[in-house]
């Protein structure tokens, strides 16, 4: 339990550092949070630098939705279906809870 606690501690500080840190770019987090240049001076548009690299200009939009790549085929991929089975009412419930 101690070990997992420290692991958890570590990963959350990593996330903290990833978001608020200035130069710790090397830190990787297993979350979907992508590495971003913490440099705020890039202009109104946070993805300025990435856009320069890719040749698609005028795509540097600040947009709140991310078009997530659909990695899974949720209809037929049974392994993927298993991973979210308990997100629904029909899934298993924790011991303490009950369907009311």
């Amino acid at each position: 339990a101690e070990k997992t606690f420290f692991e958890q501690q570590k990963s959350s500080t990593n996330l903290h550092r990833l978001i608020y840190g200035r130069h710790e770019d090397g830190v990787e987090v297993e979350e979907g949070t992508e590495e971003e240049e913490p440099d705020l001076a890039g202009g109104l548009f946070k993805i300025n630098k990435k856009e320069d690299a890719s040749r698609f200009v005028n795509n540097s939009r600040d947009c709140s939705i991310v078009s997530r790549e659909c990695i899974h085929d949720w209809l037929n991929d049974h392994e993927a279906r298993e991973t979210i089975a308990d997100c629904f009412m029909t899934g298993d419930w924790n011991k303490g809870e009950d369907a009311k």
Binding site: Q8, S11, S12, L15, H16, L18, I19, Y20, E30, E31, G32, T33, E34, E36, P38, L40, A41, G42, G43, L44, F45, K46, I47, N48, E51, D52, V57, N58, S60, R61, D62, C63, S64, I65, V66, S67, R68, C70, I71, H72, D73, W74, L75, A80, R81, E82, T83, I84, A85, D86, C87, F88, M89, T90, G91, D92, W93, N94, K95, E97
Partner: protein, 360 residues
């Protein structure tokens, strides 16, 4: 954009330099200028200075006035882009906001008006912005030519509630809206059928409304799309959508494919999980930071780059830092198959109170 919102709320002057200075089309774009005009309308005494080249902007916010106004949004971006700003600012105005926005209601890049209506408004309600919060779609207008019209009404609030949502919840039902303008009404049914194939395999309670517009209510361009939202046991919303694109080449155009795409995106969103939809994470973070001087806690799915950037701005303008705890559901436990790791955000609000609201 996030910076302009926070500058307006905090009353700080902001100077943005080097806007696309190395880009092929440098400077502010038309839609950003339109956004600045909108900010000018909702406030009183704002000064905006843009350099000749358009690459430097000095923005000095005035007080948030609110009231009734009308705005023609640039068709380059959907109304969602402008509406997001209003959602952030409207509760803190002096007078209740009644805004009429005209432009593109649905496109595939920005959150559609339907999505904001079903996702962001519930988030606002959770923070205590309740009475008279309304969003009405008078006319729909698909990209690229728009012609849609919406009315957004928001009350003013003095203080925000403190939100503590820490328990992951189950999804009890899925609702949706299939819309179509200037195309066959059959298309909405095809959207519904194809998405239900996926959705019904997870939840039995699925209902998708159809909204087919014609005549003056349908704007200037043909288009269709599907917006889906999953509701948890205590009313938190996760949502996703798919819609026809601006240029008809880079997206599936068969309604069946689009329906499946929307459903798959919703499942992806559920896999990421949390209690706040990824498109309104930033809004929840803002209200948490501005809320009561109390500890607020919310579980979210993986943070989007936009949210991360927004939180950085929150630190810069309000000095609010969040604490992150990663929650990893254990798939071997009973009831633990709940997708990817979640983040528990904790922060103490600054106790922002609406100073411009008149007290009667």
């Amino acid at each position: 954009m996030g910076r302009l919102v926070l500058a307006t709320l905090s009353g700080k002057k902001v100077k943005i330099r080097r806007i696309r200075s190395k880009d092929e089309s440098p400077g502010l774009h038309e839609f950003e200028a339109s956004l600045l005009r909108l900010l000018d309308k909702i406030t009183n005494g704002t000064t905006i200075a843009i350099s000749v080249s358009g690459t430097t902007l000095v923005y000095e916010p005035g007080i948030l006035q609110g009231g009734a106004f009308e705005h023609d949004c640039n068709n380059e971006r959907a109304i969602g882009y402008y509406l997001e700003i209003l959602l952030c600012l409207a509760p803190f105005c002096k007078q209740p906001v009644k805004a009429t926005l005209k432009g593109v209601t649905n496109d595939n890049a920005d959150p559609s008006v339907d999505l904001l209506k079903e996702t962001s408004l519930p988030v606002m309600r959770q923070f205590g912005i309740l009475n008279g919060l309304e969003l009405k779609i008078v006319k729909r207008g698909a990209a690229p030519d728009g012609g849609g019209e919406i009315i957004f009404q928001s009350p003013v609030c003095r203080k925000l509630n403190c939100a503590q949502f820490m328990q992951l919840e189950k999804i009890k039902r899925v609702r949706g809206m299939a819309y179509a303008t200037r195309v066959s009404p059959q298309i909405t049914n095809r959207l519904v059928d194809s998405s239900r194939a996926i959705l019904n395999s997870f939840v039995p309670d699925v209902y998708i409304y159809t909204d087919h517009r014609k005549g003056v209510q349908s704007g200037n361009s043909p288009g269709f799309g599907l917006c889906l939202y999953a509701e948890t046991t205590s009313g938190h919303i996760l949502s996703a959508e798919a819609s026809t694109a601006r240029s008809m080449s880079d997206m599936p155009l068969v309604p069946e494919d689009l329906g499946r795409l929307a459903a798959n995106r919703l499942m992806e969103e559920i896999h990421q999980g949390g209690l706040v939809s990824s498109s309104s994470q930033y809004l929840a973070a803002l209200f948490m930071a501005l809320g009561d001087q109390n500890v607020g806690k919310i579980v979210m799915g993986s943070l989007t780059p936009y949210t991360i950037q927004f939180m950085r701005h929150l630190r810069d303008f309000f000095g609010v830092m969040f604490k992150f705890d990663i929650i990893t559901p254990d798939p071997d436990e009973l009831g633990g198959r709940q997708g990817a790791s979640k983040v528990l955000l904790t922060c103490v609000g600054v106790g922002f109170s609406n100073i411009s609201k008149t007290i009667r």
